[in-house]
Amino acid sequence: ARRQFTEVFTQIRENYKKTYKLFFEQGECDLRLEGSADPLEADVEIFSRPKGKQMKSLRALSGGEKALTAISLLFAIYLVKPSPYCILDEVDAPLDDTNVKRFTRALEHFTAKTQFIIVTHNKLTMNACDYLYGVTMQEEGVSSIVSVKFRGEEVETVNQS
């Protein structure tokens, strides 16, 4: 179990170094096991240094910088056992316009092998997508779908009462 954890941890760390560069476009990061010689007992320390800032513990980062760090790390973990699909539910909420664009550009690196479904309230994220589904509750308490024509293709939907 110890060896398996260390193998996966090493893989996550390698992935994180790559995803961080994709999501932040610059800056550095690291992942370390600290607090105990035994990997199963140690804590995972996350280091994130966006461009122009000093390497600090996560705590000193701003809300948006923390969120983007977490997204790149969660993505790094996802890539250990990638699925054909990846669903992102409103993770772009704390990001400013510049970081949302970095976020969508980073996803483009994976679209060849990964189908993305992104729940979002953000107009810039929507612009970066190929298809758009609108969900509404025209009738109280009952969800229904409104399809939206996008990139010249209509995504069909059927709602039968």
Binding site: F5, K66, A67, I71, L107, V119, A128, E139, V155
Partner: protein
């Protein structure tokens, strides 16, 4: 390999039969607060065999059945069907499309379906072995996980890493 269609009936706020078709590209799901977007995400998790009710924001599994609204009575069962397009042959078997279905009745009885044939969840999981399609804890990335990984209390973060291993 990608999800080409999702059919939802009686699952959470989807009281009426709803069909979503997906392409292999990037799809955005949008709408006001509370309209059902995360419920669509839950439906995908659920049909692929999710057993952890707390990941479906529910106390008991039967809570995912439409529990009624102002104008409608509660429904008796929830059913979700997912169609996967096997364009890269990763699913091995001879089909170009595979349909996975799950149904749950109020009395707790439930079934899984593979191309409309009742099977055990195990059969579906075996089909998906090595494709990454199984309930992969990280195929859904949401705000809750962002909070857990950033948590000052590092044990939560450690759990996320241990689950990946």
């Amino acid at each position: 390999m990608y999800i080409s269609k999702l059919e939802i009936l009686g699952f959470k706020s989807f009281a009426t039969k709803t069909v979503l078709k997906f392409g292999s590209g990037v799809t955005a799901v949008i709408g006001p607060n509370g309209c059902g977007k995360s419920n669509v995400v839950d439906a995908i998790r659920w049909v692929l065999g999710e057993q952890k009710t707390h990941l479906l924001r529910s106390e008991q599994m039967v809570d995912v059945i439409f529990s009624g609204s102002k104008n409608r009575k509660p429904l008796n069962y929830a059913e979700v069907t997912l169609t996967i397009h096997n364009d890269d042959g990763m699913l091995g078997i001879a089909y170009s499309d595979v349909q996975v279905g799950r149904r749950l009745y109020r009395d707790g009885s439930s079934e899984y379906l593979l191309n409309e044939v009742p099977v055990r969840l195990k059969d579906i999981q075996n089909l998906f072995i090595d494709t990454g399609m199984n309930t992969n804890a990280y195929s859904v990335i949401e705000q809750r996980m962002v909070e857990e990984i950033l948590n000052e209390d590092k044990s939560q973060r450690k759990m996320l890493f241990e689950e990946a291993a």
